[in-house]
């Protein structure tokens, strides 16, 4: 787990200095990594700024999707990575259309 994977509460608890460095990592990279393994998104909930890139990497042997009901869908084939550029309106719950018990959440910040 890297700093930018920590949720806001953990970051605040870790102190002001860490908040500053987490933001620095974000600013220089702008990619948020979500791992898919054993039919689960990890981390399950992420915070992202508009324009940042979410990159899912599928470590399972089956295809998954990141699907927003009535919205966008990203296909994530076996062993592959797939991305989505965060939009201002992406405060969403998403799920895998092929395995709807897999769920994730995006919280838009900033």
């Amino acid at each position: 787990m890297t700093l930018r994977h920590m949720n806001r509460r953990e970051v605040i608890a870790a102190g002001v200095l860490l908040v500053a460095s987490a933001d620095a990592v974000r600013a220089h990279n702008g990619t948020i990594h979500v791992k898919i393994k054993d039919l689960a998104f990890s981390p399950q909930e992420i915070e992202a700024r508009p324009g940042e890139i979410i990159e899912w990497s599928n470590e399972d042997r089956m295809a998954h999707t990141a699907t927003v009901r009535g919205g966008w869908e990203v296909m994530i084939p076996v062993g592959a990575k797939a991305t989505h550029v965060v939009q201002a309106g992406d405060n969403v719950d998403y799920y895998c259309r092929l395995h709807p018990n897999m769920t994730g959440r995006i919280k838009v910040i900033g």
Binding site: L39, R61, M62, C96, L98, H99, P100, N101, M102
Partner: protein, 173 residues
């Protein structure tokens, strides 16, 4: 083994014929065989659906069943190979196969939207039966930690498929 028959019994009364033969909790080689067989059965149903359906949602669902269960069964074979476990045929596997053969013959006689509806509804039921067996008997009985862990992943897969099947049922309405 009694509990597994209880879990499956609601939908397959004929399975109770095997009860007297199988009193004990299944061993790891039997559990591996049952779990693998459960996947093979869903693959066969998917192959039948792919040969019959004209519906895009049903086709995509069946393809997903085929791909996912093949992948997990390959993983299971690699695991039993690594553990030196030889899957062992048993009355539960045999009863599952017999019930599935009968159901597949029933489905094969249907066509068009009647087939689609019967196939998808059976997928909902079948996945529910396997989930009950995994949860009630196979996972608690598994001795090897890696086998137990693979069964737990299998549980999530069957649960995901059941929910996917329910969505297709809604879409067909």
């Amino acid at each position: 083994m009694k509990m597994l028959f209880a879990a499956l019994g609601a939908a397959c009364l004929s399975l109770s014929a095997g009860l007297a033969l199988a009193d004990d909790r299944p061993t790891d080689p039997q559990i591996a065989h049952i779990a693998y067989t459960a996947g093979v059965i869903d693959i066969a149903a998917a192959e039948l659906a792919l040969s019959k359906t004209a519906d895009d949602d049903v086709r995509a669902f069946a393809q997903s069943m085929l791909d996912d269960h093949k992948a997990v069964n390959d993983q299971a074979l690699e695991l039993v190979g690594k553990l030196g476990v030889t899957p062992e045929d048993n009355p539960t596997s045999q009863a599952l196969v017999a019930a599935a053969d009968a159901k597949r013959a029933e489905l094969a006689a249907l066509d068009g939207t009647a087939f689609d509806a019967a196939y998808i509804n059976n997928e909902v039921d079948y996945h529910a039966q396997v989930l009950a067996a995994l949860d009630g008997l196979l996972i608690p009985s598994a001795q090897n930690a890696e086998l137990k862990s693979l069964l737990e992943t299998g549980y999530k897969l069957f649960q995901g498929h059941q929910q996917h099947a329910e969505h297709v049922v809604e879409a067909l309405k």
